[in-house]
């Protein structure tokens, strides 16, 4: 078994491929996620970060490239049983807590659906007990099991989504903006919860978000996406200390911090892709600027960046 739980190789996801409306949602990205680590993926809406998550878990079939889970190609044809097994190991927490819960099902049944499909519990009492345990893990209580999704606030619904993902004891969780809809104090609870669960069960996360302060906090390594491409990838601290790509810098400068004095002097650096001024024969590639720190740039930019890097 290798160190890498997830290996994404030259993944491409084009919608309406070949037509005039072609959208290159993911345009040739590669990265790996190590066992037990949290890989953060950030970028603005429409940059392809959610699509990446969804393609990894095979909600979309990839246009080209591979996703290897434990060395197994997720997108290759498989028997029903193999698929079933893979589905249990990979779970997803969705972005929109309003759309991701069936309004006609009780919370009990929503959370237990995975348990039923994978035959993880025997009998009604065990099923209910397991659901109640899960509800309590995510900060809800037992009375909530008998209610319907519309009776919950957005934050509570998201916690139901997390409980549902945890229900089948997965190894790898793709969390697609799991905390954007939650309150600060609840965000901290959920992030701590995700961290605790990671330590306890050795979970691996792909954490997709636009809240960079939380991403930095939870992630070991971070990838920054812009228009379907990974523009920068580095260990979390390194990325915040030494952002190299102009887009990463612009993203970092846009975060408001809970510090009014700092906020009064914060200057935002908007990003304009035209600033790069690549020549027609310049090759824009992923270069390793420092150990583990990769930047999408041309040879010329690389030389400049290396000169300015501290």
């Amino acid at each position: 078994m290798s160190d890498n739980l997830i290996e994404v190789r030259n993944l491409k996801q084009y919608f309406n491929a070949g037509k005039s409306t072609e959208v290159r949602a993911i345009d040739d990205i590669s990265f790996t996620i190590k066992r037990g680590e949290t890989f953060g993926l950030v970028g603005e809406s429409g940059c392809g970060k959610s699509t990446t998550g969804r393609t990894i878990i095979r909600l979309y079939d990839a246009t080209a490239g591979q996703v290897l889970y434990n060395g197994v190609d997720v997108h290759a044809p498989k028997s029903k049983k193999e698929n079933h097994e893979l589905n249990r190991k990979m779970q997803m927490i969705f972005q929109d807590p309003y759309a991701s819960l069936n309004p006609r099902m009780k919370v009990l049944d929503i959370i237990a659906e995975g348990l039923d499909i994978h035959g993880l519990v025997k009998g009604k009492t065990e099923r209910k007990q397991r659901v109640i345990d899960l509800l309590e893990t995510v900060g809800l209580n037992r009375e909530h099991a008998e209610r319907y999704p519309h009776e919950f606030s957005g934050g509570q619904r998201q916690r139901i989504g997390i409980a549902r993902a945890l229900a089948v004891d997965p190894e790898f969780i793709i969390a697609d903006e799991p905390i954007s809809a939650l309150d600060v104090s609840i965000q901290a609870q959920v992030v701590n919860l995700l961290k605790e669960l990671q330590e306890e069960k050795g979970l691996t996360y792909l954490f997709i978000a636009h809240d960079l302060s939380m991403v930095k906090y939870i992630s070991d390594r971070i990838g920054v996406m812009y228009f379907g491409k990974l523009v920068e990838m580095a260990p979390a601290d390194e990325l915040y200390r030494n952002p190299m790509h102009a887009y990463t810098k612009s993203l970092l400068s846009a975060i408001p911090l809970p510090d009014p004095i700092y906020e009064r002097s914060r200057v935002r650096h908007p990003y304009n892709p035209k600033d790069h001024q690549y020549g027609p024969d310049e090759k824009v590639e992923f270069h390793e600027i420092a150990p583990e720190h990769f930047v999408l740039c041309s040879e010329k930019e690389l030389a400049e960046m290396q000169a300015t890097r501290v």
Partner: protein, 354 residues
């Protein structure tokens, strides 16, 4: 400073099958002209209900104003007939909702949606209204307004939709603009643009803004004053600097500590333990006492009144009572207080404690 809006002892309940939910339990605040008052607090603290009660958008069948007044231009908004309220709503007081995906009508062109309040509240004909709509679209930064005017919401991105929602809210030059988590659904770069837009418009029109959010970074960016809500009451209110650098209420301490700071190393985030109070049976004393490590015996028995910290800063916690023991706030908060003149932890730049 002139007061635009005064909320006095507001109490509001919802009648549900389970009983009476006391969603707002005595809220007091003033809104001054041209200022931004941020209201922070977790879900269920009553911040959205407070603003919706100002707009009278709560269902009549279940919501009941129990007590108090909302004074706007000499009128009590809790008492006036619906017909009068309709003349204020969308004109003098307007609102920006959280989710730009659901707050626009998908079957109407955005032009018609922006024109709606203009035609309703101003004596303009259609072509004049159309001209004003295009001006508004330009104001909120929608390029090519003449053509995009005829488009439907789904043809716009999330950030643009929120700009359109802002245009609708601004259509009649409101005196009070209520923004209920206007940037929560947007990502950071778009959020930054929307916040800059709102500040810019405020400078031009001198509108007063009530800004509801749970993102303290956003609060630090936009607010002049901050009201912290918990369990249906305001527990602390003050200028943005007072709340961020000299917080007094344990709940404010908890909120500020639970934000990850950018230079934070791998330590656990502070999470306020427990869950918000059940407002079906609100606690007798300080609603936060059950989750607070600083709670004293009296917190369980009697609701703390507002104690004055400065002319602009009030906090409802027994810790400020002269007889209360001096407690140490969390280390992170002490760090913040060190930078604030007037705080008991203030450290002068030269090093000595004052």
């Amino acid at each position: 400073m002139t007061k635009v809006l005064e909320v006095k002892d507001l109490e509001l309940s919802f009648h549900t099958f389970a009983g009476e939910v006391k969603a707002i339990r005595g809220v007091n605040f003033d809104l001054h002209k041209g200022e931004t008052l941020a209201v922070v607090g977790e879900s269920g603290s009553g911040k959205s209900v407070t603003t919706k009660s100002i707009m009278r958008l709560l269902p009549k069948s279940s919501a009941e104003y129990k007590n108090g007044q909302i004074l706007f231009e000499g009128k009590d908004l809790t008492k006036i007939p619906e017909k009068d309220m309709q003349k204020i709503r969308g004109k003098d007081i307007s609102m920006i909702f959280q989710d730009p995906m659901t707050s626009l009508n998908p079957t109407m062109t955005i032009g018609r949606q922006i024109m709606e309040p203009i035609l309703k509240h101003q004596k303009l004909n259609k072509s004049q209204a159309r001209k004003q709509t295009i001006e508004l679209l330009n104001l909120v930064g929608i390029p090519n307004a003449e053509n995009r005017y005829k488009m439907y919401p789904h043809q716009f991105s999330g950030g643009q939709r929120q700009r359109i929602v802002i245009a609708i809210a601004l259509a009649c030059n409101p005196k009070v603009l209520i923004a209920d988590e206007p940037t929560t659904a947007l990502d950071v770069t778009i959020q930054a643009q929307i916040l800059e837009l709102m500040k810019d418009i405020q400078k031009k029109t001198d509108t007063s803004i009530i800004f509801i959010t749970h993102d303290l970074g956003v609060v630090a960016n936009v607010a002049d004053r901050v009201a912290v809500m918990y369990g249906g009451r305001i527990v602390e209110i003050g200028t943005v600097d007072e709340i961020f650098y000299n917080p007094q209420h344990p709940y404010t301490w908890g909120l500020l500590s639970s934000m990850p700071s950018m230079d934070l190393e791998d330590q656990k985030l502070y999470a306020i333990p427990g869950t918000p109070p059940d407002l079906l049976n609100p606690p007798k004393g300080d609603a936060f006492a059950l989750r607070s490590e600083y709670a004293m015996k009296i917190d369980m028995e009697r609701q703390p009144p507002f104690f004055k910290v400065s002319d602009t800063h009030y906090a409802a916690t027994w810790l400020l009572h002269p007889q209360a023991p001096q407690v140490e706030p969390p280390a992170l908060i002490i760090e913040r207080m060190k930078t604030f003149k007037g705080s008991r932890y203030y450290v002068d730049q030269t090093g000595g404690t004052v």
